[in-house]
């Protein structure tokens, strides 16, 4: 039986690949979970697009201050050593390749690392892009956190994105609920997959061609409530 990871387990898995001293931006929504699973011995500096370095955990109920929110507009706290700066400086930091890692959600990722995560192209949708395009081109490493398939079972890891792109060739690693897949110059390579799913089954759930059959390891995460 396929033992797919919960979202919190995917967040845990991503957190293991964030190294001591990294400057990290966590996209709005699911990627924010990653902050909860950084190993205790690693000091990480979290960036938020609205002009913060050194964000700490969620505030307690009496500490909430709506002048101190993250890009997702949720209240946060500051660690000692944090700093504030204006929006042009914040995106200079992003575009100028100073962030080590950003973790983003995705509608689709292509075999070339193209990312589509801002628009499904619907004629009625109000277009909204935010900082995703800047993060996609700016961060040294772009990690994608996503379910492997849509609720309807469609592939999200595709040959070619059908949705409008956020950025071409920007993704480095895809962390799904069943696999960790690196985007390499010669294509997608499965680094890890969950037990109970064969490589062929994984390929069947992935529209893009995947490699790494021989070398891929087991993807596992601790039980997280």
């Amino acid at each position: 039986m396929t033992k797919k990871l919960t979202r919190r387990q995917v967040a845990w898995r991503i957190a293991q690949d964030i190294e001591e001293g990294n400057y990290v931006n966590l996209g709005i929504g699911q990627p924010e979970l990653v902050a909860n699973f950084i190993p205790a011995d690693r000091e990480i500096v979290f960036h938020s697009e609205n002009g913060i370095l050194g964000m700490g955990p969620e505030p307690g109920p009496n500490e909430v201050d709506y002048d101190l929110i993250n890009a997702g507009k949720k209240p946060v706290t500051m660690l000692p050593g944090g700093s504030f700066f204006h929006h042009a400086d914040s995106f200079g930091m992003i575009r100028g390749n100073h962030l080590d890692i950003c973790v983003l959600g995705a509608f689709q990722v292509s075999e070339k690392g193209d990312l589509a995560n801002w628009s499904t192209g619907g004629p009625d949708a109000v277009p909204a892009v935010g900082g995703a395009m800047d993060l996609a081109v700016g961060a040294r490493l772009v990690f994608v956190m996503t379910d492997h398939n849509t609720k309807k079972g469609d592939a999200k890891i595709v040959r070619k994105c059908t949705y409008p792109l956020t950025g071409p060739g920007v993704v480095n690693t895809i962390y799904s609920d069943i696999a960790v897949i690196d985007v390499r110059p010669d294509g997608l390579v499965v680094r890890e997959k969950v037990p109970g799913i064969s490589f062929d089954e994984l390929q069947a759930r992935t529209e893009a061609q995947i490699g790494g059959r021989a070398s891929c390891r087991e993807l596992s995460a601790p039980e997280i409530e």
Binding site: Y66, L68, I69, K73, V126, A128, G130, P168
Partner: protein, 241 residues
Amino acid sequence: MINKIVDTLQDAVSTIEDGAIVLISGFGESGNPTELTHALIDHGARELTLVNNNAGNGHVGLAALLESGNVRKMVCSFPRSTDSGVFDNLYREGKIELEVVPQGTLAERIRAAGAGIGGFYTKTSIGTPLADGKERRTYNCEEYVLEEPLHADFALVKADLADRWGNLTYRLAARNFGPIMCSAARTTIVQARQIVPLGDIPPETVVTPGIYVDYIVEVTNPASEREMIENGVHYVSGAAE
């Protein structure tokens, strides 16, 4: 004696004319000049173009200004939110024009306007529909798109401390778009939580030098848009009902 302090919100916004391009500071609900925005609704200038990261929430502040019918065009990076129905409806009914700009490009275009830059190249949006039709240039083997400065007639900005020269500081992450918007507008109008004597802000900690500021009005206890929305406030010109 230089004195940029004005007594009332009404005085502060009184020169905003029909057709003006107006930058409005803030991100989420940090740094929003809600009182100045409401004063602009009362003032009644029409056919405005507004620039903000978002497109308002509930029926207060920026959303109330949209709802007043006085806005022709919205320039922003992310108009959607959980409570952006006012904008959504105007947009779907074709009653407002929308220019979506990636957030960093929006910030840099505003900064460029303030800093006398006649355009800049960014990698952001290359390969996406938002780069369609724009000039490109290859630098260091990578493709960049040309973006133009975003000049404005007015900026409405919320600050923390201010002095009579117009020097400003900001609280926490409420700084966001304030400093660059102050620099990019022909006339910059600021609501500050507290006006302090000249010299009280140490020169190393001034965030916006007074040269960028034209009018300051003190708003000691600025409203929380969140609380107003939770209380069902609909701001309508002249009266909160």
